[in-house]
Amino acid sequence: MTEFLDQIFIIAKNGALNFLGVFLPDWMILLARILISVVTLVAIAPVVMMYMTWLERKVLGRIQNRYGPNRVGIFGLLQPIADGIKMLTKEDLVPKNADKVIHFIAPMVIVIAPLLVLAVLPFGRNLIAADLNVGLLFFLGVSTFGVIALFMGSWSSKNKYSLLGGMRAFAQMISYEIPMLLSVVPVILTTSSLSTVAIVEAQLQGKWFIFTPWGGFASLVFFLCGVAEVNRTPFDLPEAESEIVAGFHTEYSGMKFALFYMAEFISTFAISGLAVTLFLGGWDGPGILPSWFWFGLKTLILILIMIWFRGTLPRFRVDQLMGFAWKVFLPFTLGNIFIAALWVSLPFPGNFIADTIGITVILTLLQVFNRKEMPKKRKYLCAN
């Protein structure tokens, strides 16, 4: 029974393919095999996004001592659908001086990247759309591509706020991409594979990478960089509503605006999914419940933590944001690779001692070098 529930989606897919095989030629079956996975992902992603907005509004509301949406349907469960209808009926405005073609394309391009990366996420045992042997590289490469669409939107709007938001997004995403990649390197070092499935299989039976010294820090850095990567609070400078009206999507309305949000939420989901895959053992969990449930649960927890961040933390200043990436994360992740190498190469008691020493040294150095220099007493040169 557990086995059946675990594999229910694969069984359903194979059943559908067998049924189609009765009256379709072989090459169409091959096409159908791809299409079923693709269509499922593309159909589920917007639903996930809709209910993430609902969850976010609910949890944020509760954090701020109020009910979230609770008018449309029970617990406000139909709220996302009502919002969708509202978005579709809104007037679609294009600024007079905008670059119309790029302004039109940008919201469509921006959802492509988060939809593509879902293909390499292992949602459960055997439950992956495409088990690429460079899956991790694919994910990190394609998710960066979203920033170009974002900049397309901001540039083509011909609006100073949009452009500022786009510039900030570019600076932020490129800065945070580097520590994010470097924090993943120890995982690749340990598993010697770039395939997401192989990475999960290396962590089965509770040997999650988050429990190792290097993994704990790497997962923290990865998660924070992920939050920055998807422009969520406290790293939401590109759309800082109190500074630059709405950042890169100032000039968008209606469904185009909703597509920007969709991209943001799907990439939030994808980043959380990748963090689960890399550090939290993916679909590994007690065998009583199906593997996809454990993946979903862990992803949900990470999403909730992101919402929790949003309900708690104020926005970074631009210089703090850049300083955080370049002065804290980057040296730390570089050192972390060395720590992971020590962990892998030394025998059991030695690696613990070496890692403890290494992490202490790195943290101390970071503390020392990042200390703010404040002059004790002001010297007024022209006092007399």
């Binding site: 509760r62 001592n65 109020r66």
Partner: protein, 196 residues
Amino acid sequence: MFGWGIFKGMLVTLWNFLLTYFYPKKGIFTVQYPEKKIPVAQRYRNFPFLVYDGTPHMIRCVACKICEAECPPKCIYIVPEKDPEGKVLKKPAVFDIDYAICMNCGICEEVCPFDSIYMDHEYELSKYQRTEDLMAHKEELLKPWEHFAKIRPLDFERIEAKRAAKNAKAKPAAPAESSAQKPGPGLIPPRQGQEK
């Protein structure tokens, strides 16, 4: 320690989040408006209403037009009723209040010598149109004296005592006429011309 402040802040928000579920009295303050309402204070005032005793025919207003004259934005319009011979009766035929003009000052309530106009607690007055829909006519303005007792019990007691004292003074003058009328709960002062 580095990051300790963030951790403390996160705990605060988590605490607030949990309070809303496990101790809603302390954690959640929203009043779910159409279903629940915050009770308004007794001295809250919005738009005036006209008082009647017992049945809607027994309007206290005698169409003296004092409120019409005193009203600062001139939102009250009164036409007294006339009998077939053209004699003016002490009763309004038309009593209109334009809600679009009324500024809720409550001066009409203060100047009325017959205790017949009081400020109401009604505040859900959305209308589709601002000229005719917002013009309240006599029929919509009329409310029983018991309504006043319900919305403003303290004022009701005070006014009842005042009216009783006044009535006791006036009573010996016209005992026959007041007995002819059906006495309402508020002891109506004797009126002339109402029998005709």
